[in-house]
Amino acid sequence: MLNVLLARWQFGITTVYHFLFVPLTIGLSVLIALMETMYVRTGDETYKRMAKFWGKMFLVNFALGVVTGIMQEFQFGMNWSAYSRFVGDVFGPPLAIEALAAFFLESTFIAVWLFGWDRLSKRVHLLAIWLTALGVSISALWILTANAFMQEPRGYVIHNGRAEMNNFWALLGNPQLWVEFPHVWFGALSTGAFFITGVSAWYLLKKRHLEEFTRSFKIGILVALASTVLTIVLGHSQAQHLMTSQPMKMAASEAQWNTSQEHAPWSVFAIIDEEHHRNTYNVQIPYLLSILAYNHTYGKVEGINQLQEQYVRTYGPGNYIPPVWVTYWSFRVMVLAGLLMLLLALYGLYLMLKNRLSQHSAFLRAMIGAIFLPYIAHTSGWIMTEMGRQPWVVLGLLRTADGVSPTVTPPMIWTTLLGFGILYLVLGIIDVYLFVRFIRQGPDLEEDTSEMDAKLPHPVT
């Protein structure tokens, strides 16, 4: 079982790492496209400088997102070959379509955008960034189609001992997908918005490049507020969907050991004793869980113990309880981060409308820190989603332990786990270093990198 454990750690680490870059890529692509649209419509060079400045960060981030994404695609075959054989028929097509319909689009047009400033008309150049933004969003759609299948299998039959697709529209119309995708997409947009707002806040504090960064801040805070509200609303509908599609995940995320009374209270803080299936301490808000689950004050929420018995009857003996502590707390961390984002965005809008941003340095400093909130939110969100599905890799169809590569040994996984771990760590450090450097330099030093070249003699041909 060591190989299962190691393969899971590797998947967890590489996926969480990959997902540090993806949301910022999605969010920034849309926001840069908006800035460049303003430039093309108004002809105001400030917007162009803004687009170029944020574009520089976008590119570094995009590159890391792409390379860590290749790792994700390869990993299914490397560590999870039994899983790949079992679901390849259903799970493979979204991945293939993602590459064909999204990766080509984004990687082609991001290069057109970067190298095409002087070569293309303004409108074609603008189209390039919008197509990039479209590409990264389509990419998210297809990868979540694949993920939604793991959460809530649709559009398949079991044939010859494996899952085979029999209805593509059911796969694409998976209800899980249509609560998951919008939630993730708007969460990504808020990541980009908080990033822009936070970095702009730093400039406003330092009183540098006020023109660019006042505008960036305004665009950022508006998008941050809108996208955070939508993310929360959509997250709520996603949680309600869980009640029917994955009640065990819901029960675990509430540490609800036994089916609740008619008016279910929501647990704010619990000390969980997983071994004895109980909470030794629990602070609860009456009615709230029923409201969250059903939008009215009554309604039972099923408990872990009852669901476990039910699953034993359906799937045979076994432990069907996910790690409760992790699921419970990752859910709460996500919700808390989301609420903080909402409050900060609201307050920021208020200050902006009152024109009092510049006097309020404590708030600006808080916004720099708030850059990290979306990262905390989606990391914990994914941990809840994926850990809450355990012990299944495909809910009800295949257990995680049965999905690993039978011929890959623990020393081999150790090699790649350490190899990628060290590589990712180094790249992360360089990435942060470069970001901080860009920010310190500011937008007008954009030509800095060519200075050294300009001093060299140019052989004339």
Binding site: G88, L95, L100, L105, T108, A111, V112, R119, F168
Partner: protein, 337 residues
Amino acid sequence: MILNIIWFILIATLFTGFFVLEGFDYGVGILTPFLGRTDEQRRLIINTIGPFWDANEVWLITAGGAMFAAFPNWYATLFSGFYIAFFLLLVALIVRAVAFEFRSKISNPRWRTTWDWLLFGGSVLPPFLWGVAVANFMSGVPIDSNMNYVGTFWNLITPFSIMGGLSLLLLSTLHGALYLSLRTFGEMQERARETARRIGVLASLVMFLFAVLSFYNTDLFSKIGINPGAVPVLAAMTLLSVPFFIHAKRDGWAFLMTTMTIVFSSITVFLQMFPRVMISSLNPEWSLTIYNAASGPYSLRVMTIITVCVLPFVLAYQAWTYWVFRHRLRPGGHMDY
């Protein structure tokens, strides 16, 4: 059943496209530290592939995705079987991609030189490893009755597979040198041609040895008979014609010829494998074929429809970018990056 053949051809096409397109940008990456003597020259060299390398790499990612979708057993056996090789490949791809992105961000010479050498390393490993993999595709590997690869990493390393690795490595370098001669002027162009001329000799020699060794290591010759047919012969002829085009300074033609060498060599390999996708060296019965490794007909049909709808657009806009950025680069001009 016709769908299985279509997807075999499509995946073969994606790999061929990858070897052709990423082949030249691997070559350029390999040559950067040698042909670029100043920072500006290196930057110029990198900028010849700047707008393309990322999309070129997507050919590989798409090939992998298509393999997963159309032949999940091929994907599962290959990736879990060639585990350490794929680990090395991934590390190379990651390092290479960030080298492009990071090198120009700081103008410290040591920073840049470091990334240039990492770019070199990240460009050498992938074509070499793919060459090794292709040789193993051809000769067969230990696969048991459950479609699992039961060898170790060292089973993959044989004189034959190393020759395969060197073949693809040298072919890519030659291809890259010719690409550079197409995209640069003057001194740099001359240097690229001279490099191509020298590497061309070596590449031809190694490719010839690889062909000879494949007589002993694969069923290529028994399968296609003593008369090899047009495809492998064309692969050899196009490669041998390269020095003449270099001598005549017909860079476009020379580049076209290495393109054709890669295309014909790749077709030869896939013809030898067909209808198998992974050959078992333990028992021919245990080989993976386009039938026992494939997804169901419904999946294949869905993907065929989607591919037919999307692929023309992909090819069109990729061709368009090569048109937009077709100009030769000269030193001294303003260079984005």
